[in-house]
Amino acid sequence: MELSRSSGCVAQESSESPSRPNTHVMVYLPPIGTHIAAWNSKTGLLPGSAGALRVSSVRLVAAIIAGKLVAFVSRHLNLGGGTTFPGQVTRRIDPRALEKMTARLEQGCIIVTGTNGKTTTTRMISNILRHAGFKPVHNRSGANLITGVTSAILNSSSLLGQPRGDVGLFEVDEANLPRTLAETHPKVVVINNLFRDQLDRYGEIDYVAGLWRGALQTLPPSACVVLNADDPLVASLGKSTRARVLYFGIEDERYGNQILEHAADSKSCVNCGARYVYDVAFYGHVGKYACPVCGEKRPLPNLYAAHLMLASTSGSELSLSTPDGPLEVKVSLPGLYNVYNTLAAAATGFALDIPVVAIKQGVDTFSAAFGRIERVAIGDKMVFLALVKNPVGFNEVLRTLFLDGLPKNLLILINDNIADGTDISWLWDVDFEALQGKVNSVVISGTRAEDMAVRLKYALVDTAAISLETDLDKALQAGLTNVGEGGTLYVLPTYTAMLEIRALMQKMGYVGKFWQD
């Protein structure tokens, strides 16, 4: 874990400021009283007693200096924790630091949450914003607790708390949505989906839905909420807010099923508890549903995929119907779940009145967030890396990998650290039965490798094709050995295993540090 910890440390260098020297700590150090007073009148930040304002600003400046010093020290000493610790220190000194700094973003904030696809969706939104001429302040490293969000804006702010950007773009962890909304007063809130994920951390999905409902109730009518029409619990949130609601979804039914996957989570009506009837289910419980008892049903999406074409691991082509007419986009990320990420990002563009052309460019030129999906050349072989972290996501990755119907060589890495979720019973909800007769070899490693092996045995995957390797380095070598010349090893890691395998490949010189992407 040493390696991944040190790469975690550099992660907070967001691409907004790839090589900003830290000497500015000295350069900006202000004669506090005068500068703050000047700044106050300049930005028109507001009345109240000048004395109270000054105390408040002095506190913020002190908090920022402390946070930046911590960031500087942890980055240069490779201590790790650079994506959250500075924010933690800043908040300790000024608990309102995030609120004060985000208040100075000209275009306000965009908050993205959901179980799957937060990082990808947020990065795609960032790309759209850039094509529209905005300068987003973004927690790009994916540190998405309140301390990570604070660290991100801290990192891109002057010592006086003026962000070097005009719009805040933050992905936030499911449970942190209420706090983040209370502190950032966002203009747009995007919710992609709600699946079972790390129940040991969050409790049950109804509990998370309840948190979100309460948080959205606090939004003013001037805000906009972007919701997935095809996810029943998420769509139902539209009724609990005074904010404008924009729904996105998929109309094209060709990739749907008539029956729900085993991993579907919210199958019962949010109103009356009866089982939804699905015209078509796209993945998990996401699809076109209606309640046969009380009539609760999927809202009609304002922006949707009218036609879509998935092409195995290379990406998808979408014909979107938008409030401003049709729009053709190409996404370089594979799978139906990335179609939803794209729809969420495009809908956010419309929520912000961004011109269609910028939305198209933002989507078309987008490449994957590190590690979620990544292709790495190792000698004459390829490694295809796809993050797996919960049943629905894992099913989608498997479905996407085997769209071409060809047998594959796999390396599966299952950890049960806190960031992965310590309860790995979710492996039994993944449809590994789909692998029967389709794998040439599977190497398994990670802290829960043995559980994974049992799962595959009971999925009737040929046990002779399964090997366990405790050591990650050896596991990767074994996987590569199984692959023929010019072939591809498909690596499926949980979150912390992804950090480890990436650190390993980085050490071997095959991938860059992730802040460079």
């Binding site: 079972r196 129940l199 040991d200 049950e204 999905i205 109804d206 085993h262 199958k267 019962s268 508890g273 089982r275 310590t422 309860d423 790995i424 019973s425 979710w426 492996l427 039994w428 909800d429 802290t447 043995e450 559980d451 092996a453 049992v454 799962r455 045995k457 009971y458 999925a459 009737l460 046990t463 399964i466 366990l468």
Partner: protein, 253 residues
């Protein structure tokens, strides 16, 4: 030989990979040459006590648990008790285990009624019991261990005459107080362990299959030995990780 496994509320009570238990029972029985039929018994459907060889009920969320409690009272409770009295095997995990007791007091004034199969009761606790569990059992006449993962806040207490499934060597168990985990009444077993419990404890899976066979086909019905190599490795891995964390006395196992 053929066994019928009745999976109660498969779509509502499935929160912690409970399907793994059905998969483990089916596969191991099939590998031993036994034909298996899995019958899903959803909300509202009745249960034919004499047709069940093995009954399984998993865990669910609060919302689902209230629906299930009502259905157990009105539709299935009697048949479940009848089947167990006749010797059917039953496994109830977490939320299912709680509702087969006498009641589950979920809050100050809220009580979910149980069907009283187990002389046990559950009260909501303030602390969530989460983590790996290691349990020692001797109900087969031999000493065995069970490994699993628990995640519950309800605390379950057993009546005087009800036997626990085993003694907690690591983890919280029924209530984090008395060192006991689960409950046994005839061939019915209640437990907080998931993970899923059966795949990593093949001796327990085989025990459930064996008692179900003997009830259906007589005491001489035997179960062919089936490989347990991957399963044993996973079982030992859990014990090793608990030991490596220094949370197990070296003398315990």
């Amino acid at each position: 030989m053929k066994l019928r496994i009745c999976h109660l509320y498969p779509d509502l009570m499935n929160i912690y990979g409970d399907r793994g238990n059905i998969i483990a029972l089916s596969r191991r029985a099939q590998w031993a040459g036994i034909e298996v039929e899995v019958v899903n018994v959803p909300l509202g459907a009745s249960l034919d006590a004499s047709a069940c060889d093995i009954i399984f009920i998993g865990g669910g969320q609060d919302k689902e648990q209230a629906l299930i409690a009502k259905d157990l009272q009105e539709v299935k409770g009697k048949a479940i008790i009848e089947a167990v009295q006749e010797g059917a095997a039953l496994l109830a995990v977490c939320g299912g285990y709680q509702l087969l007791g006498k009641y589950f007091k979920t809050g100050a004034d809220a009580v979910l009624p149980g069907i009283g199969l187990f002389d046990a009761w559950t009260v909501a606790g303030s602390k969530r019991c989460i983590g790996d569990v290691l349990v020692e059992c001797d109900f087969t006449g031999e000493r065995h261990t069970l490994v699993g993962f628990e995640n519950h806040s309800g605390k379950t207490y057993l009546g005087e005459s009800l036997k626990p499934l085993g003694k907690v060597l690591h983890g919280f168990g029924n209530n984090a107080e008395d060192g006991r985990e689960g409950a046994i009444y005839k061939n019915a077993f209640g437990t907080y362990l998931h993970g899923s419990i059966l795949p990593k404890n093949p001796w327990f899976t085989d025990h459930l299959i064996r008692v179900a066979l003997q009830r259906r086909y007589g005491d001489q019905a035997s179960l062919a030995r089936v490989d347990t190599s991957f399963e044993d490795r996973a079982h030992q891995a859990v014990i090793a990780r608990i030991r490596n964390r220094g949370k197990l006395d070296t003398g315990a196992i």
